[in-house]
């Protein structure tokens, strides 16, 4: 046993030595990182977002060029300057956002670039046969003739994995593979990864979720702000120890939900029979909900089931086809984002780089974008430069935004700090309703913790919050009440979240279970919606 372990240790299948990568904005993503993976192990790579895990893997896959350092595979130094080089050396990568052609079939996607041919023709039969065999061999069955756009996310991910395996990947990198999966799909993925390991494949698994790391991996490597903190045998560390390595201090991983109000607060946000049709698809179908002051209504669901459209319709960013939206007793249906904001609504957008900030503008300029024409930063005509930088400094302090000054361009900050700029702006205008869409996506544990704290504090002081998140643990631990969305509909409502079972919610998320529409509306709104 010891001899075997030493043998393995002596010959790592992958060694990345002294990798340094600095981005053009001066961000040090990797600083002299030496990362080692043994053959046939599942190696978890963990760290807060912005810790440099994804960058390190992009360097391995030839997507980023390191400024310093070298890569050894099976003891030989290799030069990887493009994904093609990586594939040649047996490295495969499954990205966070799948790189598939939605209008092609599963088989076509898998064989793309390595198509079986008969003469000059594409041999579809052969391709489908290959896929079926491949799927059976690795315990990842797929229906080869279905189109990608028609299959669920879990299957798409399998297609990505099979695609890498078909190209002879011995080292498989998965970048946060469970972020988009339901608990059931996650379970199946883990089974498949374990059997791949049995067959001698090496797996590098990037994750945030320490419970999964604990369950799946043999060894775990922790990164923090571009530096490799250490590598441990997973069996010999606790979740608490790993999280301490990640953050550099103790953290409370479980957020606390806001205290339930003694008497139900007034209704602040009402959505009635909302319908949105986009590109002739019914993306929202008769959605009704209401949120009261002092409570968080969570919206669970696999991404792409209408949550984004719901938020856009409520906040006025996209038109409503039928139905009503009321904010604090005022009709907000079809109003402009500015008018709806004036009714007392704040919005933390899903994609902070597209909607949340102007990255070339300064922190201070980003902080005033929703109040630039109000006191004290303006008299309605001219800007008060002193008041603006004063406000910038104050909010930077209050929301712990780390930057050299309020004049620094937002684009040069880390993801977590950019999100804090968004949160600082949206929370500091005394909103009556907050729409928080994926408020902690892609930010580090420290920042996540702060965002959760701000949400809870705002709710307890009487704000109504609609929280949309694809992270089931997040919605379940923060919300007072919960709805589940599936294919543009509200399929379940729970007025008590404490004690709900994640597996059960997973069934609703997958569309395997649903409550009657009338029942949902009645129990949430107190009466059927006419």
């Amino acid at each position: 046993m010891r001899v075997q372990a030493e043998l393995q240790a002596a010959s790592p299948i992958l060694l990345m030595k002294g990798i340094t990568k600095v981005y053009p904005n001066g961000l040090v993503a990797n600083s002299n990182v030496t990362f080692e993976v043994r053959k046939g192990e599942i190696h978890a790579l963990v760290g807060e977002n912005g810790a440099g895990k994804t960058t390190l893997m992009k360097v391995l896959f030839g997507l980023e060029k390191p400024d310093e350092g070298s890569i050894f595979i099976k003891g030989r130094e290799v030069r990887i300057s493009s994904p093609n080089d990586a594939i040649k050396h047996g490295v495969g990568m499954v990205h966070q956002h799948f790189m598939l052609a939605p209008s092609l079939t599963v088989a076509e996607n898998i064989v793309l670039g390595a198509e079986p041919t008969r003469g000059i023709w594409f041999d579809r039969k052969q391709a489908e046969l290959m896929c079926r065999e491949l799927g059976e061999k690795y315990g990842l069955p797929v229906g080869p003739s279905a189109k990608i756009k028609d299959v669920p996310v879990g299957i798409r991910q399998r297609v990505e994995i099979l695609k890498a395996l078909l190209r002879g990947s011995e080292i498989l990198v998965l970048d946060e593979p469970t972020a988009v999966l339901t608990p059931q799909e996650t379970e199946e993925l883990f089974e498949a990864l374990k059997s791949l390991k049995e067959m001698g494949h090496t797996i590098i698994f990037i994750s945030h979720k320490l419970r999964e790391v604990k369950e799946l991996s043999d060894r775990v490597t922790v990164m923090r702000s571009g530096v490799l903190v250490g590598t441990r045998d997973t069996g010999q560390v606790t979740v608490e120890e790993i999280s301490r390595m990640m953050v550099g201090r103790d953290v409370v991983l479980r957020p606390l939900r806001p205290k339930a109000q003694e008497a139900p607060g007034e209704v602040r946000l009402v959505v009635k029979n909302l319908n949105v049709v986009r590109d002739s698809t019914h993306v929202l179908r008769d959605v009704s909900l209401q949120v009261r002051a002092g409570e968080i209504l969570g919206v669970a669901g696999v991404e792409g089931n209408g949550q984004a459209e719901l938020v856009e319709a409520i906040t006025g960013l996209s038109p409503v086809d039928r139905g009503e939206v009321w904010v604090c007793g005022q009709d907000a249906t079809g109003k402009s984002p500015g008018e709806i904001r004036n009714m007392g609504l704040s919005h933390i957008p899903q994609d902070r780089m597209v909607f949340g900030v102007a990255s070339r503008a300064s922190i201070a300029e980003n902080l005033i974008s929703t109040r630039y024409n109000k006191q004290p930063v303006s008299n309605g005509f001219s800007l008060d430069i002193k008041a603006i930088s004063g406000l910038g400094r104050e909010l930077m302090g209050r929301f712990e935004i780390k930057a050299s000054s309020a004049q620094q361009p937002v684009g040069t900050l880390s993801g977590g700090n950019i999100q804090k700029v968004v949160v600082a702006r949206e929370f500091s205008t005394e909103p009556k309703v907050i729409i928080a869409n994926q408020p902690t996506r892609g930010i580090d544990i420290g920042a996540t913790e702060s965002v959760h704290r701000y949400l809870v504090e705002a709710t307890e002081s009487g704000t109504a919050v609609l929280l949309v998140s694809a992270d089931l643990t997040e919605v379940m631990s923060l919300s007072n009440k919960l709805i589940v969305m599936y294919e543009g509909q509200v399929v379940a409502y729970f007025d008590e979240v404490e004690g709900l079972d994640e597996e059960e919610i997973g069934l609703y998320m997958l569309g395997l279970k649903r409550q009657e529409p009338d029942e949902v509306a009645t129990s949430m709104m107190g009466r059927p919606v006419e």
Partner: protein, 352 residues
């Protein structure tokens, strides 16, 4: 000065140096005595008071169109109408200068206002087309340049023409409308004061008013602006109207200060020069006069060279083109910048 500002300055400097070098190579290829020719080009503008005045006064219209383009570009609107707005502004000022009978200063102000109004209308058309029907302001404004050119020529030919003059020129503007010239040797005129006022107001608008803030945020990221509640459509309209007004004002100043009767047969090209200036000045109104003076210097230098040596003035177009190419090429010197960043990061790391 931030690292970014410093680097942009360096980039512009290197681009200018490279362009001058290429200009010299071209001169060397075509000229009998390249050294002498290039000497005229570089030193020409400083060789007499008259030439010095010529290149400073040439900077005035360039500044106005540079400001106009900077305004619309800051809001992310690619309105290329400064050419037409400048032209129609000059025509409107000419008409006001001929027809109205007013006391001196007031007459001047009325003419300037007429030029601004004409330019503003010119900017309003593509602006409203964009805001209401999402029509590309780029296409609309380019096409409208022809409309304004022909409309202006029609007005000059049939309504403002001086029948006693031998060429196709307008009647002279009344003396009460003129912007006074400071000296007899140069045509440097009081319009330069109007220019400085315009520079200051444009800067104040963009960086010190709520509307200017709306414009800049819309230019940075229009999705962000919409999400924040900024009325992006009215912003698009406003900057195009203001841009048109500034360009029209430029045309008026040129008429009242230099020509005193309309004598262009074709569009003088200041609008497109305005694009070059806005790019060089990074849309910053305070840098616009600097860029305009530089461009005017190149132009006058080329004229002097064409006069005394065997190289034609078009050589300057090559230099301009190379500068624009290098300044707008994002990757130009990016490698050098990356090495600088890397070094700085390492110093910081070893210091801590």
């Amino acid at each position: 000065m931030t690292r970014n500002t410093w680097f942009e300055l360096l980039r512009t400097g290197v681009a200018i140096a490279v362009a001058l070098l290429i200009g010299f190579v071209v001169t060397w290829l075509v000229s009998e005595s390249p050294g002498e020719a290039f000497g005229y080009f570089l030193k020409g503008p400083f060789t007499s008071i008259r030439r010095l005045g010529a290149f400073l006064e040439a900077a005035v219209p360039l500044t106005f169109t540079g400001l106009a383009v900077s305004l619309v570009f800051s809001a992310g609107q690619f309105n290329m109408g400064a050419e037409g707005h400048f032209f129609i502004g000059a025509v409107a000022a000419t008409a006001a200068g001929i027809f109205f009978d007013l006391p001196p200063v007031i007459h001047t102000l009325v003419c300037l206002a007429a030029g601004m109004a004409a330019g503003a209308i010119g900017g309003f058309i593509p602006g409203i087309l964009k805001a209401r029907w999402n029509a590309s302001e780029l296409v609309a404004s380019l096409m409208l340049n022809y409309v304004f050119l022909k409309l202006g020529m029609y007005l000059i030919t049939y309504h403002l023409r001086d029948p006693s003059a031998g060429a196709l020129v307008s009647l002279p503007l009344k003396e009460t409308s003129w912007l006074p010239q400071f000296t007899r040797t140069t045509k440097l005129h009081a319009g330069i004061l109007v220019m400085f006022l315009a520079v200051f107001l444009c800067y104040y608008f963009l960086y010190r008013t709520t509307k200017g803030y709306e414009a800049r945020m819309t230019g940075h990221n229009i999705s962000f602006a919409r999400y924040s509640g900024i009325p992006v459509l009215s912003v698009m309209l406003l900057v195009q109207v203001l841009g048109g007004a500034v360009a029209g004002l430029g045309g008026a100043v040129e008429m009242l200060g230099i020509y005193r009767r309309f004598q262009w047969q074709a569009s003088p090209g200041y609008g497109f020069d305005g694009v070059i200036i806005a790019i060089l000045a990074r849309n910053n109104p305070l840098l616009v006069p600097v860029a305009a003076v530089f461009l005017a210097y190149l132009r006058v230098g080329a004229d002097v060279m064409a006069l005394y040596a065997d190289v034609s003035a078009e050589m300057v177009s090559i230099i301009q083109a190379v500068i624009i190419l290098l300044v707008t090429a994002e990757a130009f010197l990016a490698g050098y910048r990356h090495r600088l960043t890397l070094k700085e990061v390492k110093q910081r790391a070893s210091a801590s």
